[in-house]
């Protein structure tokens, strides 16, 4: 699971609503996967990022050189874009959990795939 994905995921346990975001990340196995750098794609993702959630996840994973927010003229700033490329797309959480901040419910990440399925009682009506 990449951090870009984590940035978009929310818990949907019954009654939790918008307080289900961001999911608290805990990782036991992380892999760095090189991905071909595409500056245009990274630049397009920047406006979609929820920065507080990203920084929290990056901190949990002890990542360094993580920009604290979008900078002026980021679209053409290669250093910034490469750092964001690395954080969003190259860090892969293979094993761990995502915790709903409101209900405490844990969603497992196994073999790089988060499992967001809820049991029948937990689903919102």
């Amino acid at each position: 699971m990449k951090l870009l994905t984590h940035n978009l995921l929310s818990s949907h346990v019954r009654g939790v609503g918008p307080r289900g975001f961001p999911l608290r990340l805990q990782a036991t196995e992380v892999r760095i996967n090189p991905v071909e750098f595409n500056p245009d794609f990274v630049a397009r993702m920047i406006p979609k990022v929820e920065w507080a959630a990203l920084l929290e996840a990056a901190e949990t994973l002890h990542l360094v050189e993580v920009p604290k927010g979008p900078i002026e003229g980021y679209e053409h700033d290669e250093k910034f874009l490469r750092q964001m490329h690395h954080v969003l797309l190259e860090v892969d959480v293979l094993e761990g959990t995502l915790q709903c901040p409101e209900s405490g419910r844990l969603f497992p990440i196994s073999r790089g795939i988060p499992n967001m399925l809820l049991s029948d009682e937990e689903t919102e009506t």
Binding site: M1, K2, L4, L8, S10, D40, P114, L118
Partner: protein, 433 residues
């Protein structure tokens, strides 16, 4: 006063496959590249020859870099219903537009294509000779000419009734070919991992084109399986190794973003619009069952739950509900102008246009049928988000009122098999007699 520059006319030669899907594909691609579909006829039906007005050759080339429905495009210099009409049409084509391709330093060749008829070499040479009146000054080079000109003769569509003379003759300068060879190179036959319902390669590309997918778009497939439906400029997906392996096979692994396990009826995304396109083939409940998680109350008595498995045992997911969820999900997470492309299974004897699911935020762009059997087909529905999504609940109220009239989608599975059951009954009966 300056006259408006007339748009250049091009002849688009289409493949005779997936006929209904062609017009939406060409329209979507033209709009993607800054043109629009302008032709002298409203529709061309089954004909493979379309005359379009396109603002520039660049747009025409971009169209051909994406289309799998069109074989080639030509800059149209003349056409007519007979050789005489063709020649007089050519004489009316502005010479200054011809000259850049005919000057003495250039090389060229002329090809004759006939459709639904075969000509002898002698007949072809006669036709080329008849074009001598054109101001060709360059040298003929049959191996690697700089410019290729084509005469295309249309002898209709009926192989059992080939006319003496062609219905139409066109002459044009060849610009580019389409991407039909991708269909073979991405064929399911060669794919490393396939599932029960792996999508035909040509249709997958058509889906991406109907979806106006462009470079660096994020595309989401909520029902991905082994990873066949979404392909072009793909980003997001829904089970991983197989998808990645398939993408790796095509050298497209860099386009793979991520995969997760979730229930499409209970999306786990934060509020926001982040998908440029949602392209998918939802399960119809025939070769794969439709499932979703549900609350205790909804599970009928006698159904067991599996506490150990990660996947909760679930109740049947009615197809109508699934489309309702899909459209709502699309309306909420698509960017404005983004498209939803999905297959809708249809029991043909009951089909009417009113059955196509609708949503106040999504505009219907196209609806193309592919026959599956004598009484079933599926329709590729393309919708575009034209209005911001306001409030989840507002729409569920609206939609359930509209949906109640047609619950026929739910019994699609029964109807699909009804033909089979009848046939088996017939066979048994006749074997007993």
């Amino acid at each position: 006063m300056a006259l408006p520059c007339p748009l250049n006319r091009y002849l688009l030669l289409l493949a005779q496959e997936h006929l209904e899907f062609r017009l939406p594909e060409i329209k979507s691609l033209l709009s993607l590249f800054g043109g629009q579909f302008i032709s002298s006829q409203e529709t061309y039906g089954k004909s493979p020859f379309w005359i379009l007005s396109i603002p520039s050759e660049d747009i025409a080339r971009n169209l051909m870099k994406r289309t799998v429905c069109a074989k080639s495009i030509f800059e149209l210099w003349g056409h007519g219903k007979s050789p005489e009409e063709l020649y007089s049409s050519l004489k009316n084509y502005p010479v200054e537009k011809m000259v850049p391709f005919l000057h003495s330093d250039s090389t060229y060749k002329i090809k004759i294509h006939t459709f639904n008829k075969t000509l002898t070499q002698e007949e072809k040479v006669k036709r080329i000779d008849a074009l001598e009146f054109l101001p060709f000054e360059g040298k003929v080079n049959l191996k690697k000419p700089q410019h290729i000109f084509s005469v295309l003769e249309d002898y209709g569509l009926d192989p059992n009734c080939i006319p003496e003379n062609p219905h139409n003759i066109y002459f044009g300068r060849w610009i580019a070919d389409g991407q039909r060879e991708l269909i073979e190179s991405y064929s399911v036959k060669k794919r490393h991992f396939i599932g029960n319902t792996s999508m035909d390669a040509g249709l997958s590309f058509i889906m991406a084109n109907h979806g106006k997918v462009k470079e660096n778009d994020i595309v989401f497939d909520p029902f991905v399986g082994t990873g066949k439906a979404s392909r072009k400029n793909q980003k997001w997906r829904g089970p991983d190794e197989n998808i990645r392996a398939n993408l790796r096979q095509y050298g497209l692994e860099k386009y793979y973003l991520d995969v997760l396990v979730s229930d499409a009826s209970k999306p786990s995304w934060r509020k926001g619009t982040y998908f440029d396109a949602i392209i998918t083939d939802p399960p119809y409940g025939i070769r794969e069952s439709t499932r979703r998680t549900g609350s205790q109350k909804e599970i009928p008595k006698g159904m067991e739950k599996c506490p150990e498995s990660h996947v909760p045992v679930s109740l049947s997911y009615h197809l109508s509900d699934m489309f309702f969820d899909l459209l709502n999900f699309a309306a909420e997470t698509l960017v404005l102008g983004g498209r939803l492309v999905y297959w809708l299974p249809v029991y043909t004897p009951e089909y009417t246009e009113e059955m196509v699911p609708w949503h106040p935020c999504l505009k219907l762009i196209s609806n193309c049928e592919q026959k599956l059997s004598s009484h079933t087909s599926r329709r590729l529905i393309t919708m575009e988000k034209v209005k911001k999504f306001e409030d989840r609940d507002q729409y569920s109220h609206l939609l359930s009122d509209h949906f109640l009239p047609y619950q026929g989608h739910n019994s699609f599975r029964e109807k699909y098999f009804s033909g089979v059951t009848k046939r088996i009954a017939k066979e048994e009966k006749s074997s007993q007699e």
